[in-house]
Amino acid sequence: MIEELREKLDKDEVTSEELFNEALKKAHQYQEEYNSFVTIMDQYKIKKRADSILTGIPYALKDNFSTSGILTTASSNILKDYVPVYDATVYKKLKQSGAVLVGKTVLDELAMGGTGTTAATGIVRNPWDKERLIGGSSAGSAAAVALGIVPFAIGSDTGDSIRKPASYGGVVGYKPTYGRISRYGLFAFASSLDHVGVFTRSVRDAAIVTDIIKGQDSHDMTSLKDDNKTYLKEVDNDIKGRKLFYIKEICNLDNYKDSNDKELIETLTRFNELLDKCRDQGFIIEEVSIDKQLLEAIYPTYMTISCAEATSNNANLTGIQFGPRGQGNSIDEIIFDARTKGFSELIKRRFILGSYILQKENQEKLYLNACRIRRLIVDKITELFKEYDGMILPASGSGAPKFDDSSEKLSDRYLILENHMAIGNFGGFPSITIPYCFVNNMPVGVNITGRIMEDDVVLNIANKIEELTGLKGIKAGDMHV
């Protein structure tokens, strides 16, 4: 973890170059099996005179962040040769802090996917079980941290793209309040839902990295004015009397009486045990009920808004200004060819869906209704946040699924339990997933979501709960040594 490495570096027990080389070695060692990276750096580069808690610490960056002079593909063939000419603000801040980039990590193509199986460079495997997926879209970043290649990695989160793979990978995944971290240089998927966030192996580390990369940016008008807080200083605050709620329709075992899904039952049982431990520590935790119809609408709302924005956001990918040039005799032909060859089938399907949603005749019923549901959901949660400091829910109904999993896409479990974290994106709420148990030898995460702007409170709560799980700092890489 970062603080241990910091101490070793400060005591000259290790040099940052040695840390980098070690990370590099592991990156290459695990690459064939797990496929975390699109690009692994070949040169140690650190900013001279940098002096921060991250100086000399290696890290990985999702391959949808613009890095000047370094290939950035978003794991799509349409950008397979794209070398940006500018730095994403996050990357710039990390560079300035003296953190050392080890590689660019694999994602679901253009971040549009939740499995880690749709990258142009192949599937990413779960470090705890190669037969399982790690989840996505920030698959490579989750895997790289879970494997212990790097102590932290940067991801992006549009529906749960950090927090879901964090759950499946047994690591901490955190996305702060919308606008807390600049999105400049993050390849847009769905701009009103996109967040930048981090993977670490402890809540403290998540606070440390966020402290470095947060802040207002003149390139991102939605970036928030700095709250002038150091989150690391807040994580140990007393939580006595902090009130949390969980949603009955998601967590109550009675909902699943007819289910013979043992993993699901165990996941929820262990969740309830965790809640009891939290109560013992002084948390007040209550059950609240939310209209099931509203909860069932979360996933379709997410799909509708995200696909619509994505279709438009990716219309710049034509092979004209950048990316592989298509073949053809007319301008239309070359754009057509570049896009036909450049996007995978899944992406095309989502674009068509998004375009359909935005069509004049469907916009009211699909797009605008989705935006209305978004408001209803956010209003409901915001109202609950008047009384509660946070919402606590299991990040998934089990450990990571196997690659051949074909769960029913219209089931309650799928619609609600597996997709509720999009609430955090709808409302821009700070939201964190930390590992809390193992089910069938696979890690499962618990998710804590709090009020907008109160990133310090969410990290504080998560840090206190992390102490109760006994799973701080776990990594799958240890199993392979």
Binding site: S191, F322, I335, L358
Partner: protein, 480 residues
Amino acid sequence: MYKAVIGLEVHCELDTNSKNFSASPNTFTEIPNINVSTVDLGLPGILPYPNKEAVKKALKTAMALHCTNPDEVVFDRKNYFYPDLPKGYQITQVTKPMGINGYLDILVNGEKKRVLIHQLHLEEDTASLDHFNNYSLIDYNRSGIPLIEIVTEPCIENADQAVTFLEDLRDVFLFLGVSEARSNYGQMRCDVNISVMKDTDKELGTKVEMKNINAFTNVRAAIEYEIKRQTGLLESGGKVVQETRRIAEDGKTYSMREKVDAVDYKYFVEPNIPPVKLSDEFYQKLMEEIPELKLERYEKYINEYHLSEYDVGVLSSKKDISDYFEEVLSYGSDIELTVNFVTSAILSTIKKLEIDIKDLFITPKMLSGIVDKVKNKDISLDHGKKILYQAIEQKIDPNEIIKKQNLHQINDKDQLLNLICEVMDENKEQVRQYIEDGNTYVYNFFIGKVMQNSNRQANPNVSLEIIKEELERRKNSESK
């Protein structure tokens, strides 16, 4: 009888330092791709950041055109693929334009015509394409330049109205200082929609569209040609086809393509620009910044200042000149004299020196000083102008010149009488001509001498009276 129904869509680039949604320079240049930011190029990961000045200028223009402004600023995306549109969408306004339902009053051949404005919105310009034999080149300099689009109602009836509207609209841009609106740089461009119908028809005829006409003379030619063409078609029992046409150099229009199904641009709210309410204070401030426009000044000069048609034309047509004129008046100077000075000496000087009036050495304050001295008869009008030219030439405050040359006019009768008696004593022959021959031509002779001897300070009118009296007195005393 047939009549034409014309609607205009006018695009005008706004004059700002930086572009509409990025911080690259908004300057016209022939050198390709030197004013381009990541945002203008549509690179992956870019975000738009609206320019306050562009928003203000668009709102101000909407206000000047008597539009209703929105309660909040919202931008939308217009989605389509074209190589001059690097992002694959244009940021524009559909949901809440900067202004709706306004008007501009224009004077066409002396008659007032109200042109109704449907809406005014703020958007971004596209990149420019240069076409060659078998390829095209893209220059992204223009990409992202702030652009306002003004859409009129179909309420224009002929080419005169259309061209006057465009000219007056350009004056609005110039008076507001929102754009230089140079059509030769493509800063102001116009789409014309035109149809023809029978006087008695209730429904509009089939519409023909002509896009991107830069020069106003071409707008006139296109409209005149189309009215003739469409009327001719209808009269001979033909039908007008709904299509897009272009105006060629021969002044005729040619069909480009027939209208296909309307494109669905899949507009939706730009997700990177949160809608934000504008305060009443914000609007109040903008309102205060809006100057009187040309027509208002025109009417004021005629109705309140009672100036001649000619002077009104000269003084109201250009904002800088009009501002200069009004500033002189604001110091309380005499209107008639000020008009005299500005329309003659000032305008001829800036024309001769080929400078803008704001670069003239003589400030309105200085001119006001001269005008007041002429008005108070401290100096003569002639002297006033002479001082003005001297001040400009030597770049010296005219008050200094007056002081230095001691050019204050002599109005004191005793002092003038002394001067005149001196002159008459020295020129007895001319006095004799008056006394014996009654020759009044000698008046001018004596005036000339008095002016010469007084260093041109003598008040000529007063002097003339005294000269007449003195000559008469001498005649009488001789005959006694």
